[in-house]
Symmetry: C2
Subunit: 199 residues, 2 copies
DNA sequence: CTATTATGTTACGCGCCAGTTTCGTTTCGT
DNA sequence: ACGAAACGAAACTGGCGCGTAACATAATAG
């Protein structure tokens, strides 16, 4: 094939990379603030300090823009956990996870909820990203625990990734309550530790 | 006070009660099909076989209509569970719960997700209804279990209501996978039974 | 310098939906 | 019979967001 299309002669004024990231970050902001349906291109452009055609020059429409923004978003890294103490590691990780979900993920979940009907491709993309993030979020505590001789059930990491985010999201959205310290203690002591420790 | 306002002289043609329920059920249908944001009064009226002013004569707008529809909705009753066998009761109840959520609740959760931003009152109403439904859904298995000598941890019913719907919703929405038989077995055997049985 | 492209501003046409109004008809209470 | 109110159909106004186009200007490659 020998490169069917040249990668654009690039003659003329080049695109501003700073505006690229400004658009993506503004999209994430608006998305978490008002949700997917209420997100308008005008609002994103205004928030990014950019003209509307500048957005449309990069993305054909809302689904592609949101997908690119979610892709661009860097997931937070979980805090380092003290080795040798599974309970302490779980407490720290769960609290951090709850904060992350309450601050950012809720808006993305809303986008997933509503966008999945209109655009299955976007839904698949969102699920891919979320799996990547959850994997990164739940890997920390178990590496330490395993190396320090804790006796865990097989598949403990998968079980944690399956239960902890689910219960946290359920409490935030359905119950409408915040994930305070008492809730984190409850989740760790009454649910996670009894399940994950080898019985 | 002695009745400040008379309850409407009711002179003229009375409202048709059949149209009342037609409107509410059409609202639930459209809501689960297209979600809260995409729901239009015209679509509801058309689905109900009713003129648009007939809807506006009863409700001032979309939030009130949706709230009334969710209030009107009767939650399904969980199937009777075999007494004396906690595992069998959990399997039946969890499978039924998963089907219920997959068929109906997902749409209502989407409405909760998106409507909660625009109308906090609607969100509170939805949460109240959902608590009522979840309580009705999770009461069955434990009454039988307790009467038949199963040794359960204290607060087992609350724990079940906290975990089972959360994991089911998480799988349906985030993972995008159906709750088949294997998943129900996994949820019961690997998560619920180890947690609920007195250790 | 010149051609070429990006950018901002502004404006436009289009479609969709909200909420209201009008009108002719129907159904009730009195 | 008579008046009042609900009903369906249709039309209507208004707002809003989409996606595009028209300009003038800025930045860059050659």
């Amino acid at each position: 094939m020998s490169d069917g299309r040249r990668p654009a002669p690039a003659r003329g004024r080049p695109r501003d990379a700073a505006r690229d990231v400004a658009i993506l970050e503004a999209t994430l902001l608006v998305l978490t603030e008002v949700g997917y349906d209420q997100l308008t291109i005008d609002a994103v452009a205004a928030r990014a300090g950019v003209g509307k055609p500048t957005v449309y020059r990069r993305y054909p429409g809302k689904p592609a823009l949101v997908a690119a923004a979610v892709e661009h978003r860097a997931p937070g890294t979980p805090p380092a956990t003290p080795p040798g103490d599974l309970r302490a590691a779980l407490l720290v990780t769960v609290q951090w996870l709850a904060d992350q979900i309450a601050e950012q993920e809720i808006g993305l979940l809303g986008a997933l909820f509503t966008g999945m009907r209109s655009d299955p491709g976007l839904a698949a993309e969102m699920r891919r990203i979320r799996r990547r993030d959850e994997a990164a979020m739940t890997e920390g505590p178990f590496r330490n625990a395993l190396e320090s001789g804790e006796r865990l059930v097989p598949g403990a990491a998968e079980l944690f990734a399956e239960i902890a985010p689910a219960v946290i999201v359920h409490r935030l959205v359905v119950a409408g309550q915040s994930c305070d310290h008492a809730f984190v203690d409850h989740l760790v002591d009454d649910i996670l530790l009894p399940l994950l420790r080898r019985r």
